[in-house]
């Protein structure tokens, strides 16, 4: 412990703590831009500078450890002048288009401009001029809005360990871009969108599908059906200033109905269906000495990662479509038939916490009769914008129920939205199917939480089944390496590209509140515990569909509609690079 003073307040802090954290602990706010919790400080933005007695210049509080007897001023005129100047400098090299910017009112630069009362342009001059990159189906990069804080670069390189973007050029010409400035679509990017969550401005943003959705909703020929992913209900309320961790399922359903969707379904239903298919596939692989370990396939970012980097292990990935694609496929086949609808008139919209899903819905493999399973994917943020435009007062909305039949789901499906959930749900079903018994404890706590790689073993019929859950694509390379070398001890591995799983997906509300992951997770686990049915194979509608349509899991028809195939993108990317 060391004792020192900040703004004449005596503070006790742990050795090695930064001035920034120590100040926070006594209620002193220091603005930051480049700072990322738990990552080594880069000291790039200089927003967090403070005055430390005895130091020549101002000191970046994010990077400087406290010391005994230190005297710190965080709000002296010298500090304020420096911070204000830095904000001014950033603004002068930033488009002055806040009014028409997608991040208007949710922009850290705008906030700082307000905080430091910037009221004039004192240092106006040349602005940087880099081309916007709209090459990818999910993410837009607008370097003109980039303030070069480096958070996206560090997210991509240090957390996700993809390295699709980095700094290029020097000085005023510095830019964050893809290798050879070639466009995100031919980079190593897996479109996870974590960079968007990290970006303080609108330099990174999703490629919007709002227009397509609004057009479809106003088109009388289109039968618009919407589905929402499990993780969306746990986070959307944050955009309406509800406490983090508020479950807003009912309001979303009402809101979507008011937008004009004919049916509001739940992707959770398809999650149950996925478990039926995936657990059957797993059982088959285990019992008939198929290719093991098997990887989950619900995360398109993960699938894209393997296609781009390790196509040789594609046969380890379950052939199941991801849940929302299954739901879409079902809507355009089974449901259309049942309801007497023309599949080409059905417009399926998925509300997803994810940016990769936009790209996924474009995949030629995910179509039925040349029609995409899913026609448009909206992120949580886009849905909120549409709600706002439609005059929907979200907080005043009554709750409502999903439509039937594709709205019925179990607790197992709800936890798909968090890292470990797919595994937990699959094991519940696989165990029951193989043993005709229920897992002794349905909650597999070893598979919950934020560790990078979580593992567990369960004994099924005397055989030990080893499973692993990878949380965040940055943690996957070792596991993949073991699989490539045939050394993996696991039978089944779940991979979610985003840290924490879909509840922290790239399409989620953007803010830097650290408690968000845990609280959103809790929402999903609460839905599970409160559910009357907690195992996918007990979902009555799922059972009914097998009865009426597919026969049994992994049947020929089920394969045709619910399964997909993958391609080797490594050679394509490398040849184009």
């Amino acid at each position: 412990m060391v004792e020192f003073s900040i703004n004449n307040i005596n503070v006790k802090a742990e050795n090695g703590m930064t001035i920034l954290d120590a100040a926070k602990s006594v209620g002193i706010d220091i603005p930051t831009l480049c700072h990322m919790k738990d990552l080594f400080p880069t000291g790039a933005c200089r927003m967090c500078v403070v005055e430390v007695d005895g130091m020549r210049g101002l000191t970046p509080s994010c990077a400087f450890p406290v010391a005994e007897g230190m005297v710190v001023q965080t709000n002296s005129p010298r500090v304020r002048r420096a911070r204000k100047t830095i904000v001014e400098l950033l603004i002068e090299n930033h488009p002055q288009d806040c009014l028409i910017c997608v991040r208007n009112k949710n922009c850290e630069l705008q906030d700082l401009s307000e905080k430091y009362a910037i009221r004039e342009h004192r240092f106006a001059g040349e602005k940087k001029n880099h081309a916007i990159d709209i090459s990818s189906p999910s993410i837009e990069r607008d370097p003109a809005k980039c303030i070069l804080c480096g958070r996206c670069v560090r997210t991509c390189n240090e957390i996700q360990k993809i390295g699709a973007i980095d700094f290029t050029n020097r000085g005023f010409r510095s830019n964050v871009t893809t290798p050879y400035n070639k466009g995100l679509n031919v980079s190593d990017c897996i479109l996870c969108g974590q960079c968007i969550l990290a970006c303080p401005t609108a330099a990174l943003r999703e490629k919007s599908h709002s227009k397509e959705v609004i057009n479809a909703l106003t088109n009388k020929d289109k039968y618009c059906i919407v589905q929402i992913a499990p993780a969306v209900r746990a986070s959307l309320g944050e955009e309406y200033n509800l406490p983090i961790g508020t479950n807003v399922t009912g309001q979303i359903v009402t809101g979507l109905r008011r937008l004009g969707f004919r049916k509001v379904f739940d992707t959770n239903f398809a999650a149950d269906l996925t478990i039926m298919e995936e657990s059957t596939e797993l059982i088959n692989r285990i019992t008939s000495s198929g290719v093991l370990p098997m990887f989950t396939s619900c995360c398109p970012g993960w699938v894209k990662f393997v296609e781009q980097n390790n196509p040789e292990i594609l046969n380890h990935i379950s052939t199941c479509k991801s849940p929302h694609e299954m739901e879409g496929a079902l809507l355009k086949t089974y449901y259309a038939k049942k309801m007497g609808l023309q599949p080409e008139n059905i417009f399926v919209v998925s509300i997803m916490p994810c940016t990769v899903k936009k790209y996924e819905s474009d995949r030629p493999e995910l179509t039925e009769e040349n029609m995409p399973d899913v026609d448009a994917v909206l992120t949580v943020r886009e849905l909120v914008r549409i709600f706002n435009m439609a005059g929907i007062d979200f907080n005043g909305l009554p709750e409502d129920e999903f439509d039937n039949p594709l709205g019925v789901s179990t607790g197992a499906a709800a936890i798909f939205g968090t890292s470990g959930g797919v595994m937990e749900a699959a094991l519940r079903t696989a165990y029951s199917k193989l043993t005709n018994q229920i897992l002794p404890t349905l909650e597999l706590n070893d598979l919950r939480g934020m560790s990078g790689v979580k593992e567990a073993s369960i004994i099924i019929n005397g055989k030990q089944i080893n499973v692993a859950v990878v949380n965040g694509i940055g943690n996957v390379r070792e596991i993949v390496k073991d699989v490539q070398e045939g050394k993996s001890k696991y039978h089944f591995i779940e991979v979610m590209a985003c840290p924490g799983g879909c509840i922290n997906g790239g399409g989620q509300p953007i803010h830097q509140k650290p408690e968000k992951i845990k609280k959103r997770m809790d929402v999903l686990y609460n839905i599970d515990t409160k559910s009357s049915i907690r195992m996918s194979h007990e979902n009555p509608i799922v059972l009914k569909i097998y009865d009426e349509f597919f026969g049994e899991p992994n049947s020929l028809e089920a394969h045709r509609i619910l399964h997909t195939s993958y391609i080797d993108r490594k050679s394509i990317l490398r040849n184009n690079a």
């Binding site: 790039a44 990077a63 400087f64 002048r81 001059g125 070069l148 980095d166 000085g171």
Partner: protein
């Protein structure tokens, strides 16, 4: 070529595989050699150029020598020798530092002193060789001085005005010995310090010796070298690194290059000693790729040291292991900053990191690392050999030893000078540098490169030491010393350095990346002519810029991440401090008194001087001059593009510039 390895120890007494602790001692003391024959005595005398049969011709062939024509001179000498059928030995040395008189050729006849001839062009060669080698006379037309006693008008080199006030420690071998030849280095007291350290000193003794010497980093910051070593020495780690920063990038600085090209073994020796002191077993020399000759000399030095067992396992049977590698820099100025340099060696983008952690805690590859500048390492062997007391006896209270400066710009004796700390700037400019050429008035000296400041005549009596220079708004820097006369515009100088900084900023931190750009724009605006079409917004912008220039400069200095940004505003701040009236005349009077800022110039034809010849009218590219033949002409100001063609053309000096 013979070498100590073969001559002295015929039966492979010493080799990298079978190291002997007394190898170096025996090299310099022939009497101790196991083969006590005359051959070794003769070899040592030969290496010292004491006894030789044929004339020796030394050519200063470092980069600056080559740039002024040493290559052609060498070729001419070779051809001429062949023509005259004279047997002579040609030795390519580094440069002795006096850039203004290069190329230099020293000629030493057997049993005579080595005479230095300067400004030798290939055209001089036949006469030079005929006079000296055949007629055995001094070629007095181009004689500069000599090594050995002064004879008449031929002064001992260290008594000539340029060298008289210098103290050569780091540069003591430069221009004298053959930088490729390890044996010549050994007989010039080379590796004596290493030998002493390995045989008689513990690592901590070495550290303490350096601390007591008071040596401070010569790269610019001035951090006590011994202290840096002590911090790294105290760290317990499996690996430690020692790094030599040879990424010399300041405009007008070439000290490190000359040392590396003239005496590379000295730097290597300093690094081995440093490695021993801190417990490192590996070192990197980070040298900019723009110094191919220096890299070549270093590569040779490293491979020779390996051949002699002075690098590698169990050096001189001491149990100490050390190896060296050269890492070529790709041309980024910021990579001279130590954390950026580390990143660059690691293969990452050269961007500085915040400190702590300091490199001595977690540097290269996360290991304790000491980074010192070339000149710092070049001092080490001298301190060990002569003792810390000797070193501490040179210089001022807080700045010990000598400092090498690269004199350039508007100064007569441009070149490298090594002066004791504490000497005044005035002495360097006028006594050593010989003052300003063309009888112009001294205006300022820019010291410390882009990070330094411009100092006017009023502070020229400032002594050269770290603190005093900082106090007057400059800094020691690595040793750039650019002299400016009345023809230099200080606003233009600030513009030059800001442009440099703009190009070289890594772009990581906001104040340096964005702030220096804005400063440059503000300065550019005040050196531009106002156009009539200028909008009110533009006028307001220019006005605001001037108002906030100082504030912006201070914030950049206060908040930048690394030394590059922190010192980037210095040229402007020192300009505002010492040459404020010049800035003001640019802003208020729209005049550049030094006639540098073209757009601010007005050309006028003095009617009483103009003969009406019409030459300027014909030369003017924009038809801005009108007039009747044999009558005074006039310049139409709105058409004048200020190219200056008319001034150059006029034979009657009738065109004045304001």
């Amino acid at each position: 070529m013979k070498s100590f390895l073969e001559i002295q120890f015929k039966n492979q007494y010493h080799s990298p595989e079978t190291p002997k602790s007394d190898f170096l001692i025996k090299c310099s003391n022939p009497s101790l050699s196991p083969t006590q024959d005359n051959e070794l005595n003769k070899y040592v005398a030969e290496l010292k150029h004491e006894k030789h049969e044929v004339p020796i011709i030394f050519i200063g062939a470092d980069t600056s020598g080559l740039a002024s024509g040493a290559g052609k001179v060498k070729l001419a000498i070779e051809t001429e020798l062949q023509k005259l059928n004279i047997d002579a030995k040609i030795v390519l040395t580094g440069g002795m530092g006096f850039g203004a008189i290069e190329p230099t050729v020293d000629i030493k006849l057997p049993n005579q002193d080595r005479i230095i001839y300067c400004e030798i062009t290939y055209k001089d060669v036949p006469e030079l060789l005929k006079t000296t080698l055949i007629d055995k006379r001094i070629y007095s037309k181009k004689v500069f001085g000599k090594y050995g006693k002064t004879e008449g008008s031929i002064l001992n080199i260290y008594e000539t005005p340029f060298f008289k006030n210098q103290k050569r420690v780091v540069l003591k071998n430069c221009g004298i010995i053959d930088p490729n030849y390890i044996d010549e280095y050994i007989v010039s007291d080379g590796f004596k310090a290493l030998d002493k350290v390995l045989r008689n000193m513990k690592p901590l003794d070495v550290v303490n010796e350096i601390i007591e010497s008071g040596l401070r980093g010569r790269g610019g910051g001035g951090f006590p070298t011994g202290l840096k070593w002590k911090l790294a020495n105290a760290k317990i780690s499996e690996n430690k690194y020692i790094v030599c920063n040879a990424d010399e990038g300041d405009p007008g600085a070439f000290m490190d290059r000359s040392v590396l090209e003239g005496d590379p073994f000295n730097v290597v020796e300093g690094m081995i000693i440093g490695g021993y002191a801190i417990g490192a077993d590996f070192g990197y020399i980070y040298c900019r790729a723009e110094y191919p000759l220096a890299i070549q000399k270093l590569e040779n030095a490293i491979s020779e040291c390996k051949r002699y067992g002075l690098l590698g396992e169990n050096i001189l049977d001491s149990g100490f292991k050390f190896d060296l590698k050269i890492k070529k820099g790709a041309g980024a100025f910021v990579c001279g900053e130590e954390t950026a340099l580390i990143a660059s060696i690691e293969g990452k983008r050269g961007m500085p990191k915040p400190r702590p952690p300091y490199p001595s805690d977690s540097g290269l590859f996360g290991k304790p690392t000491v980074i010192n500048n070339v000149e710092t390492f070049a001092n080490i062997s001298n301190i060990i050999n002569n003792g810390s007391k000797w070193f501490a006896g040179i210089g001022t209270e807080k700045s010990k030893g000598t400092k090498v400066f690269a004199l350039s710009g508007k100064i007569k004796n441009s070149g490298l000078v090594e002066v004791p700390m504490g000497i005044s700037l005035r002495q360097i400019v006028f006594d050593i540098g010989g003052g300003i050429p063309d009888d112009k008035k001294f205006k300022a000296v820019q010291i410390g490169g882009p990070s330094g400041g411009c100092l006017p005549d009023a502070v020229l009596d400032t002594p050269v030491d770290y603190e005093s220079l900082k106090q007057v708004g400059a800094m020691m820097g690595s040793g750039g010393f650019v002299v400016m006369d009345e023809r230099t515009c200080m606003v233009d100088v600030a513009k030059f350095f800001l442009t440099f900084i703009q190009n070289e900023s890594c772009g990581k931190c906001v104040p340096c990346r964005e702030g220096t750009k804005r400063m440059l724009e503000i300065i550019e605006r005040i050196t531009k002519s106002y156009s009539k079409e200028e909008s009110k917004a533009d006028v307001l912008q220019r006005f605001k810029g001037v108002i906030h220039l100082q504030r912006l400069a201070e914030v950049i200095k206060d908040t930048s991440l690394c030394g590059l940004g922190q010192s980037a505003p210095n040229p402007v701040l020192s300009g505002l401090q010492y040459f404020r009236e010049e800035y003001e005349s640019h802003i208020y009077d729209r005049v550049c008194e030094s006639h540098v800022c073209k757009e601010l110039l007005t050309y006028k034809i003095e009617t009483d001087l103009c003969s009406g010849c019409g030459l300027c009218e014909r030369k003017c590219p924009n038809e801005a001059i009108v007039g009747e033949k044999k009558h005074p002409h006039f310049i139409i100001e709105s058409k004048c593009i200020k190219c200056g063609m008319c001034v150059d053309t006029c034979r009657f000096d009738a065109i004045s510039v304001n």
